[in-house]
């Protein structure tokens, strides 16, 4: 019995989702959490693209449109997360970086 390629792709997508979830929960650093979320996103997209091939010879375009929209959403989400992570980093490293605080007070 041969395993179809779509099955392998779909399973890889789910595997990536789980790996990202594990990273999101276990990594304490914010940047790693954001990267873990991005791995999860890739897993979901791979799964969605695979669905399009499931219905026979004709490729279903709807999941592809979903992935395109999803990419836009995930890029914006990542941007917000990174910006916020920078702010959190600035705020909470103050004890080590006293110089930065005085500089921001001057402004």
């Amino acid at each position: 019995m041969s395993v179809s390629p779509t099955f392998v792709y779909g399973l890889t997508g789910l595997f990536l989702f789980v790996v990202g979830l594990g990273g999101l929960i276990s990594c304490p650093q914010l940047l790693r959490k954001i990267l873990a979320v991005n791995i999860m996103v890739s897993g979901v997209f791979l799964f969605l693209v695979t669905i399009g091939y499931g219905h026979g010879v004709i490729i279903d375009p709807v999941p592809h449109a979903m992935v395109l929209t999803g990419i836009v959403v995930s890029v914006s989400g990542t941007a917000v997360a990174l910006a916020l992570a920078c702010r959190v980093h600035e705020t909470f490293n103050m004890s080590d970086l006293l110089k930065r605080r005085t500089r921001s007070n001057d402004r």
Partner: protein
């Protein structure tokens, strides 16, 4: 052209498009974002009202965006529950907008660190209107992928609002809120993928009509449920909610607690109700157990808080529980259960928003919100104190208030279905709610005069808008047939 615009089903897109347009407008007029913001808030409320009127007159509306039919196109569907939620958002949102106008004016007038307050207001209006539009889109969408998009829009804009206060605590809370939200949305999206795989359609009604049990469907239900539970902060997923809600600016706290939480709950309820034949008693009992735990745990946490806004935020954790203990009661027909739980949702929205607005006014006036030092607030801010107490009455479920009607419906259903443990839970929950509300109200209403704080710095419209919302929460106890008639328009 005008005739086309005023056509029955076209009204569905106005509550969605107007706030998005307003968000752009208030972003462009960044020197004075308040005026376009308030005007658009008023217009959105009006269009939501007209939508409700059209629904009662003509029945359920459906609108295919751009004329494309499903499965390719995206369609909006306005049935009773959806339009009721849109109307709830409109009433609460208008009061919050008016409050926000006064709030930022008062803060800017206090001069110290004026620049920061101006920047906060500049970003508040676009984000808030974007959130409003996204919420309306979420309530009205008939397409599960569109629901994912609106969920993400709601999440991103509410995270932006959360961190607006600039406090270190709010930044950390906002970061956690964002990660939890993205995790919830991704889980939802994966579930959507499974559903599409199983049914070949994204239209929720089509899927529910073709429903049958299979492993992918079970997987989809699990993923969608967990994702939405994370976002609606049901115990034990509530950990992110209190710091995010309590450390935000006052109007933002009211928006998050009164409206945003309801968005993901609404989706959960719609999915769960449609898939009820597949779920069975076990799943419903799990939901009720989590809801019960939320009611008890949230109330104890609320009681032990030292800060007023934290108390109100933990009260939200507890009240979310009531939205989920309804599921075992759906056994004898979804109609009555839906009436009870939607009535609870709308009265909670008004009451909780009123309480957060009142707490924000108190914070601005006193410069702190430590509960034990709040004596004398009554003399300074009589209207605000009254609004806080009235909101509390509705949360406790004392007659005559919207909360009372909802709890009465819960209790009568529980009794008629012989679910005595649920009756006990609701009664204990109301008692605990009364305990923490009285703890806060007793300090606020105690007559000790404070010295050196005689000058009232808050704008009158802040006090009156909170009171108006609290009065709506009470009024819901008198006009129950109207919202229920709106809710009954389905099919």
């Amino acid at each position: 052209m005008m005739g086309l615009l005023l056509k029955n089903d076209c009204w569905l897109i106005w509550p969605f498009v107007l706030p998005l347009f307003g968000a752009l407008l208030s972003f462009l007029f960044k020197q004075r974002p308040r005026l376009p913001g308030l005007i658009v808030a008023l217009l959105t409320t009006l269009s939501s009202g007209v939508l409700a009127w059209k629904l009662v007159r003509h029945g359920v509306g459906r609108y295919d965006l751009g004329g494309w039919q499903p499965p390719l196109g995206i369609s909006l569907r306005g049935d009773g529950p959806a339009v009721l939620m849109v109307l709830m958002t409109a009433v609460t949102g208008l009061a919050i907008s008016i409050y926000a106008g006064g709030y930022f004016r008062s803060r800017i007038a206090k001069v110290e660190d004026e620049r920061r307050h101006i920047i906060q207001e500049r970003f508040f209006w676009p984000l808030w209107l974007l959130l409003w539009g996204a919420l309306n889109g979420l309530f009205l969408s008939a397409d599960i992928f569109n629901m994912y998009i609106t969920l993400e829009l709601v999440a991103l804009s509410s995270v932006g609002l959360t961190v607006l206060s600039g406090k270190p605590a709010s930044q950390v809370a906002g970061m956690r809120y964002l990660l939890v939200s993205i995790l919830g949305s991704l889980s939802f999206l994966l579930g959507v993928g499974f559903l599409y795989k199983a049914f070949g359609s994204l239209d929720l009604a089509t899927i529910q009509a073709a429903l049958s049990f299979s492993p992918p469907v079970a997987m989809a239900m699990a993923l969608i449920s967990v994702g939405l539970l994370l976002k609606s902060a049901l115990f034990p997923f509530h950990f992110w909610l209190p710091p995010a809600h309590a450390n935000a600016l006052a109007p933002v706290s009211a928006i998050l607690s009164g409206l945003v939480v309801k968005g993901s709950w609404y989706l959960f309820f719609r999915f769960w109700l449609g898939f009820l034949p597949l779920i069975g008693d076990g799943g419903n009992a799990v939901m009720a157990a989590l809801g019960g735990a939320a009611i008890i745990w949230g109330a104890f946490q609320a009681f032990s808080q030292q800060r007023l806004k934290m108390l109100v935020a933990y009260s939200t954790v507890a009240q979310i529980g009531y939205l989920f203990i309804i599921f075992p009661l759906t056994g004898a027909g979804a109609g009555p259960a839906a009436s009870a739980v939607f009535y609870f949702a709308i009265s909670h929205s008004c009451a909780k928003a009123a309480m957060f607005l009142a707490a924000g006014t108190i914070f601005l006036q006193m410069g702190h919100d430590r509960i034990r030092d709040l004596a004398g607030v009554r003399q300074l801010l009589p209207i605000t104190s009254f609004a806080f107490a009235l909101g509390g009455l509705s949360l406790m479920g004392l007659p005559p208030s919207g909360g009372f009607i909802a709890k009465y419906m819960y209790l009568s259903m529980a009794v008629s279905q012989d679910r005595w443990w649920l009756v006990l839970l609701i009664v204990i929950g109301s008692g605990l709610t009364a305990a923490y509300i009285f703890r806060a109200v007793s300090h606020i209403l105690s007559p000790k005069m404070v010295h050196g704080q005689g000058q009232v710095v808050v704008a009158p419209c802040m006090e009156w808008s909170a009171l108006a919302l609290a009065l709506v929460a009470i009024l819901l106890g008198f006009i129950a047939p109207l919202p229920l008639a709106l809710l009954g328009v389905t099919g």
